[in-house]
Amino acid sequence: MNSLSLLKNPILQRELISRLRSPKALIAIALVAIVSCTLVLMRWPREATIDLVSQGSIQVFRPVAYAIAIAIMMLTPAFPATAIVSERRKGTLVLMLNSPTPPWVIYIGKLLANVLLSVLLFSVSLPAIFACYAMGGISIPGNIVPLVLIFIGMAFQYSALGLWVSSRSQSIDASLRWTYGILLGMVVLSIGPTVLVGKLSGLKAWIAQAMTTLSPIPALQQVTGAQGQSQSIGISTGWIEFLIMCAVSTLGFALATLYKLQPTMMDRSRDAGKVIEATQSSWLRRLSYLVDPNRRKSGIPFWLNPVMVKEFRTRKFGRLHWLLRLIAGGAIVSILLTVVAATGTVNWGVDRIASSMVIMQIGFLLLLGPSLGANLIASEVESGGWQLMRASPISPWRILSGKLLSTFLTLLLLLLATLPGYVMMSYIQPAIGGQVSNVIISLLIATAMVTILSACVSAYSKTSAAATAASYAVLLVIFAGTLLIWLGRGNPFGPVFVERALLLNPAATALAEMKAPGFETFQLIPNGWYVGLSICAAGLVILVLRIARLTRPD
């Protein structure tokens, strides 16, 4: 099949053209172009000279490269993660699989549509990248070509990942949650063993180094002239290893997806459900589930909001047995971290341990919050349940409060999981009691912000898939985008601008309070709280108005 006939793939044409018609694609492309050009403009030399050895251009090149990489990470997996599961639910996948088009053509069409969209997304930033070249100190073969190859590798890898998860998922929100979860693991956790354990030898060292090739961070650091940072923490891989891993993992994901992408994937009976009576539940089942999801549930009591109860009962993830497992896991990890630090097993201060716990909590919030919050209203509208609620006497305020509480309480329970760690920390070092209280307040604000903003996005979305993807994007812009600005502190961003940007991010407020490395100079409390609460209040007002609009007679 030559390249021309590849582009004639009907799936590719339909998917690519339909997405390019979407105003959201236009907004995403425009945002990438605006951000990258703004970063260049901020550092453009005022003198009419070219500085061939200056670090100025590399200091612009670096944040531009990171900004585009984050945009690819946020936006690329969203569509493939919904591509197969949504077609299966709509019934169009069975039509395609029953056509003479072989599954691999369907797969290639879906993969390339997404990769081409990502390429289009980062290609709008190329003028900004070449402007860095014009400023001097950057070479095309040494910096720009490897960077573009990294972006293409990421686009292939994340698209293939999304499609693989989508082929295995039963619901759109589960597919998005798993895709972003695995992505987070690939980008951040893969470098964990090398960073945390330190010097390893033999096979263990080889495995730890191989794992780092899953993350684009060492590759990006190498091509943006910051390889010293990776090497200082023991990472010796670069962009070539990353590209090899991209090719291998893309092929692996593709084969795994093609194995699933057969007409037989629809050949499964609907789970009719089996009720486990309290007397029938075995001790093994009780131990495994903690709260049996198949137990017979009693009626909704008068003192509970029925909408909140419904939300808890209808989720696959976020139901009580899953939450309790996660809380137990989180509690163990947080206590272990604290004990390890207190007993001097690792040479980490309390500040670093607390920072790790804050990052773990924010990771939980960002992974689970958008998929829980974004489904609150959009999926109700999509399933037809909203119409039924409108036809009932329940008030709009009760609907909204029930829905918000169902997400807020879930996320709050996750935060509670790390409380034992904080308690132990305060016991070991009583002087930090005040700081711990401030961190907890900041995390509560972060929880409220994640809940309200996701619900806002959900209220304005027509489908739960679009709502989930948009929620992830909005929250990552706030929580990761401001950290990107923090990464560029000194150059190109001044301290005042960085501090103002960090005020938007409650996680940064918590990190600054614990004097995490790099945050020692920032004093974000109480202004960070005021900004966070203002965002929550504004979001709540928008949400109330939107719910009033959605529930009132047409």
């Binding site: 139901r319 119409q387 009932s392 006497p393 007679p553």
Partner: protein, 315 residues
Amino acid sequence: MSDTVVETTNLTKSYGDFTALSDLSIHVNRGQILGFIGPNGAGKTTTIKILVGLSKPTSGCATIAGVDCSQNASRIKRLVGYMPDKFGSYDNMRVHEYLDFFGAIFGIPASQRKARIQEVMETTSTTYMQDRYVESLSHGMQQRVGIARTLLHDPEVLILDEPANGLDPKARIEMRQLLLQLAARGKTLIVTSHILPELARICNVVAIVTAGKLRAFGTVDEVMSSLCPQRSYEIQLASASHIAQAEKVLGQLLLDSEPLTSSPAELTLRFPTVRTEPELAELLNQLVAAKLPVTQFRELTSDLEDAFLSVAGKD
């Protein structure tokens, strides 16, 4: 005291320049079943939405049990049980939990809810599926659960949008019996359907709307006589070889307003007419006198479908 439960007076709904509903005036008495008929986009769902308080009319008025549907939407929601054409399923929810949730949002106290759920499940014969997930139910089962949901708060009026849509013949018969049973208990029902013979069997009154306008309203017989004043007759012959001769004879006897159609495969000829019984007897005599082998001479029964087509054809 009037027994009218549902009443609309000059009900009009416009969206900008587009008029979805124009001057609709109908009324339904207690215990009656109204069949609401019309092609897609005729204004049926618009009317229903106004009646259940989900939409406000541009002008005119709709009342249920004397309560204004647009002014007092919260009271209307307790008086009406509404089943939209989309079921409104939730994942991981069993039938019993599903009904419990809707009972709770309709404000049924927890102490009474359990008994009420059992009652509506018995009425709709859904008790055996109470532990099954709603999304795993067949379409027919979901329709039954949908009706159980509308009955939970014991409303006076049930408004069912396409309840028989997509059901197999057995499920359709069961649905028909269920609706008749509910009407017998004094519930007033408004039912939309595209399956017109189905409606003709259960409805006391029908309303036909096309392009937002009411074209006919009354009992099935009243609508039939107003929309189909002509009767159709069919003549069946013993063999196809006599069809041409019969056409020739009838061509001389019938008027221009009585167009003749023949179907040689069925050995039949048909024509509409307003002739009286003696005039028809004379026509038959003349056919027999022309030595045509007539095996049957009978009136074709017009049905709601003919009435609907006679209206829809004018648009």
